[in-house]
Symmetry: C2
Subunit: 338 residues, 2 copies
DNA sequence: TGAGTCTCGGCAATCGATTTCCGAGTTGCG
DNA sequence: CGCAACTCGGAAATCGATTGCCGAGACTCA
């Protein structure tokens, strides 16, 4: 016999009052049993749990939230779920919170400042305990970040806006470029083969930091700046070739750009890594699917998720805003073998 | 001078009562101005809006939800945000709802039945107006789906469980395989080169339907069943080769498998499409990044999102559960050129 | 036995917004 | 001028759960 959902006569949703009436106790007792706020004597507890099961009672978290002022919810704002790196970050943050009492809810800002603002208001209005956000834009997102930080514990993820003194958790981009630099110096004669940088116009702090660190480690090398996407990587190849380069090492600011570079080189008949080595950044899963597989600096998304969990779990009193930089590691692929 | 956030003396969050006091009106009036529930005379309205702005008032959606019984929220349950197809679906659903009054909140079930259950309870407890879910499992998820459908408008997305009479929106898999079949018959001498299927063990309805349709369109062809991932695609190549096949057309049940197949063929020294043609299913963005680019059946994610929006916007009264199948289209890549 | 301490169930206030009902003031119209 | 209809602000009930307080009963200990 298939167990159905509990059938109760009410079309109205079941409340604690219903359970209380059915069990012959007061609502306070029901509440104390359900939320385990205070011990309740065995027989009464059984009666309450029995009644609750029988009626198919489900806690109304809205009522609870209104009273407690907390919601056991973390709101995550992401610019674009279709971007593999962001969605991987979202997944790993969810995984990190799996064992915690809080639920992670994700909202996509669609890379739009107005939607981002709406998302912040949606989360704050729903009284989330913490807002975790990857800001859309290095400078324009500052109002949204400030608004969030004004009324909830707020953590910036992966990118940080300028001018807001708000927690930040992200990758140590300088260290990442350090790994790339060491790798290149160990395996390439940089005087023989040029090192080139294909990055993104710096409307995010990550793009900014990586570009800055590259130019510091490799002064006066050719750099190409476009968008954070595949198409730009392809296009950059044409610019590189028309500048007369026929071999070298291409450092891409993101894997998605690096994949575009590899595809562009394929189309133009150049071989990777024989003619051009290619190195990416981020460590997105699909980088392993490329041919050749992409050598990349992997951001430790698990550790980033765990760090956010720790920061959220910390007592709210720790007012000074913290900036946590997680060290990345180098994943060797065939696009720039070790 | 930089505009800061409104500074008010209260450390307590600003409520309608505060706004009312500051504007010298009653809370009813404030409510009516804020939610535009009834017209309010010009001077009073200005006073209220002024006071609200001055105090930095933000609606408390928890209070509103408790009273109204609605939340203007759609909850989306996704098995794994790290899966490009699911995250793309999530992104496009968000985009479809951008113009609507409702916010889309996403929860990752991490492919785990218990987490899926928790997600359903999280959304129902938060009184979402609708639950949209991609069930984890063809049969085991039935309890969660039923639970959701019992107290909220529920729509199954992409996959449907057996035994629950609940709305469904997804791809017309039979039509998709029809496109593949036509494409193959037009461009391949199927008597000369074998047609092979690399699919997934059927724990999802999509996998099930695609497999069934393949065997119907191409009876008695070799089929290989594993998981819905890249690694299985690579491994399947070895099985295919050890079965003595050296050329043919490989139909993959999902792009992620197809990409694995292409990678596996590369490693073994076979050429695509010269030795083996490869055709995928889903139309994930990264399929265009492969080399060669993957020929695939694209699920129209925009249209799927729009359909869900329509279904949610429909008056609740339309009780008979609907099953909407959206027709996919064929995207020609170089892995099986036209 | 009596005073002090504990345990634990119930009453009622409370969280913040919405909404029904009421009534005062205005307008319209015969 | 008088009555009906209408407009619109305010008082208070309401949504569902939590929790401070009270008090009844049980227990401890001298």
């Amino acid at each position: 016999m298939a167990e159905g959902l509990p059938q109760h006569a009410l079309s109205r949703p079941v409340t604690m009052a219903d359970v209380a009436a059915h069990a012959g106790v007061s609502v306070s007792t029901v509440s104390r049993v359900i939320s385990a706020a205070r011990p309740v004597a065995e027989p009464l507890r059984d009666a309450v749990l029995g009644a609750a099961a029988e009626l198919g009672y489900q806690v109304n978290l809205v009522g609870r939230a209104l009273r407690k002022g907390r919601t056991a919810t973390v709101g995550l704002l992401v610019p674009d779920l279709d971007n593999p790196f962001f969605s991987s970050l979202a997944q790993h943050l969810s995984t990190a919170f799996e064992g915690s009492a809080a639920d992670v809810l994700v909202f996509s800002t669609c890379g739009d400042l107005r939607v981002e603002r709406r998302g912040v208001e949606a989360f704050l209005g729903r009284q989330v305990d913490a807002v975790v956000m990857i800001p859309c834009h290095e400078s324009e997102s500052v109002d949204s970040v400030r608004l969030a930080a004004h009324s909830a514990l707020t953590i910036q993820l992966d990118r940080q806006v300028v001018g807001a003194d708000v927690h930040f958790v992200g990758c140590d981009n300088a260290a990442g470029l350090g790994l790339i630099t060491t790798h290149i110096r160990e395996h390439v004669d940089v005087d023989d083969k040029p090192v080139l940088y294909v990055g993104a116009k710096t409307l995010s702090s990550s793009g900014h930091e990586r570009f800055q660190q590259f130019t510091q480690n490799f002064p006066d090398r050719p750099t190409y700046l476009g968008d954070f996407d595949f198409a730009w990587g392809q296009q950059a190849v044409d610019e590189i070739l028309s500048d007369g380069h026929t071999r070298g090492t291409i450092v891409a600011a993101a894997d998605i750009i690096g994949l575009g570079v590899i595809a562009g080189l394929h189309v133009r008949g150049y071989r990777v890594p024989d003619d051009f080595r290619v190195i990416g950044f981020d460590g997105i899963g699909v980088a392993r699917f490329a041919h050749p597989t992409l050598t990349t600096v992997r951001q430790p998304v698990e550790e980033i998720g765990q760090t956010v969990l720790d920061l959220v779990s910390l007592p709210r009193s720790t007012t000074p805003s913290r900036s946590v930089r997680i060290a990345p590691d180098l994943i060797l692929g065939d696009s720039s073998p070790g």
